[in-house]
């Protein structure tokens, strides 16, 4: 059953929040090295989907396997150490720390408590952080509190933190919300270049942005996968049009 090429496999996943099924019988898999975009109307379960993969929410039924390993028994930090990184919808960086400290914290190779305490930040990691600061254009502001950064700089810093963590699978939740057109385009470029060495799942609303980066698109609707395919296939799919335009529908049964 276990396919070594698949970085992520999700089988019959159901999440039940006190009777409300945020996800129902969801099946999903993706290959190593893939860049996948997930779209869907509000309330389709996109963020819950990421919560399950990162261990914030435990499956009611079904299972999630990362590199063939079932994640059910692991807590968030163990899953993160296995190599899953997450960028949140609104930037969640540490405002009281400097960008350099933010990056060093996430770059740390050995995140046990004693190594973090006893070892000084190794020179190699300092170099990595220095390089990253240059990539995200924050060298001049590396040593001031991150609270003083602009929104776009904060977004870049958080993507930098994600890269510093060097995960195998990146989960990116609405990376271009609140960005200008130019910043959106640059973020798209950044993600496609990252996709050369990482597997990435992006959740996004902005269809133009999706068109820029997407190869494979998955549409979620009411907690299950409605359809999968290239962006053109998805956009011409009558069910998707129905869901997005909110036309009167028969039974909203999902194609499992």
């Amino acid at each position: 059953m276990i396919n070594p090429d698949r970085i992520l496999e999700i089988e019959n996943l159901t999440i039940n929040f006190d009777g409300f099924k945020a996800l129902r019988n969801l099946n999903f898999h993706m290959e190593t090295g893939e860049l996948r975009v997930i779209i869907g109307p509000n309330g389709a379960g996109k963020t819950t989907f990421l919560d399950v993969i990162t261990g914030k929410v435990k499956p009611t039924e079904g299972q999630v396997r990362f590199k063939g390993r079932n994640l059910r028994a692991l807590s968030e930090h163990q899953i993160a150490r296995l190599g899953i990184g997450r960028k949140f919808q609104t930037p969640r960086i540490y405002l009281k720390l400097t960008p350099r400290q933010n990056l060093e914290l996430s770059c740390n190779r050995d995140k046990g408590i004693l190594p973090t305490l006893i070892q000084k930040t190794p020179v190699a990691e300092r170099r990595t952080v220095g390089g990253l600061l240059e990539t995200i254009g924050l060298v001049p502001k590396a040593d001031i509190a991150a609270a003083l950064l602009s929104h776009g700089e904060k977004q870049r810093l958080e993507i930098g933190m994600l890269v510093a963590q060097s995960p195998d699978l990146l989960l990116v939740d609405e990376p271009v919300a609140g960005l200008t057109d130019e910043e959106t385009y640059l973020t798209g470029e950044l993600l496609t270049s990252l996709a050369e060495s990482h597997s990435i799942i992006v959740i996004e609303h902005d269809m133009e942005f999706v068109r820029q980066i997407a190869r494979q698109v998955t549409v979620l609707h009411e907690g299950s996968v409605l359809c999968e395919g290239t962006i053109d296939e998805v956009q011409s799919n009558p069910r998707v049009i129905e869901v997005y335009l909110g036309q009167p529908q028969e039974e909203p049964h999902a194609a499992a």
Binding site: T54, K56, S75, E76, H77, A80, R81, G85, R86, F88, R92, Y94, L95, K96, L97, Q101, E104, L105, S106, N108, K111, G112, I113, T116, L117, K120, T121, R126, R127, G130, G131, E134, V139, P140, K141, D143, I144, M161, Q165
Partner: protein, 391 residues
Amino acid sequence: MTDDVGSKHRQGDRKRLMEAAVVLAIVLFLIFVMPSLLTAVGQSFRLKLLGRFLALAIAALGIDLIWGYTGLLSLGHGIFFGLGGYAIGMHLKLQIPPGELPDFMGLYGVTTLPWFWRPFYSFPFTLVAIVLIPSLLAGFVGYLVFRSRIKGVYFSILTQAVTIIFFNFFNGQQRLVNGTNGLIDFKTLLGATVSDPKTQFGFYCCTIIVLVAAYALCRWLTSDRFGALLIAIRDDESRTRFLGYDPAEAKTLVFAVSAALAGIAGALYTLQSESISPRSMDVASSIEMVIWVAVGGRATLVGAILGAVLVNFARSLLSEQFPEIWLFFQGALFLLVVLVLPNGIIGWCRTNGHELVLKLLKRSPIATATYPSLEQDLDVQQERRKLEPKE
């Protein structure tokens, strides 16, 4: 780039040397100048008070670690303080001929020494117990609490509940630890008479040295990545999990360290006040410790020490003049700090203080010939540095 990192490093080293020099100067002042200074103004009894308050400052450092840096408001540090005090107190009460019992036990008809008193005959064991008993207790409670992700106000309430349990136990056990009266009337320690001024001066010096060591420990814990991690846990705990850290581990460790500091403080305080009673571990005294840190400034370390010493001196001065007024004053002080100086004295000095000083000296912060905002722009500064010819 590497040059940049290197120069930052050297700058850091120089700063650290400066800090060490300042600390050393203060230590020498406290040990060699302060006693004669106070004697000269006829206030030599204040030296003893200062020694006690410096012991309390060690506990304040612990509170600053767990509350100021890690964001966990512990209202139960009185327990750890008391445990340290009782540990040394029991050792002191056992400075009697073998076979005899501590004096108070006779009153309650105790005939054999309770089992848990026995190990305290040994001085080395007592020293270890002062550190280990509080930190193991904190580690155990902390592990259970933090693993189940209890935080915020629930953590504070829980620590208070534990405090009440311990207070009632020590308060109620006349036969074992002399109940409300606590342990008093100490005779000797390692052969020296406890109440002798020379011995007391020894305790004073000892307190200063331990305080410096505690300060160094806290500086080390809060520097570099671990310090950043603590602040990260304070500001957004669940985010640290997605970075791959286990906040429960870090919080347990810090809670245990801060408990150990409180235990050491309790022992040193007991030696200098020559008594330990359950009152030191009641809820009110635990809250007082928090007030010291709030007054001095959270997450500043120096603020914790300053706060503990200042508030306690204010207390002793005020209660000499107006014995009944202290509690009102303490309440007012706390309100004042919360409303006017939310970051405490040191926090205020770091943010607004130097601007105020410059204004008083009638100097603008930075002398500029052009647009000030442009001069201060970090991007502009960086570009300018790049354009400057390299040496």
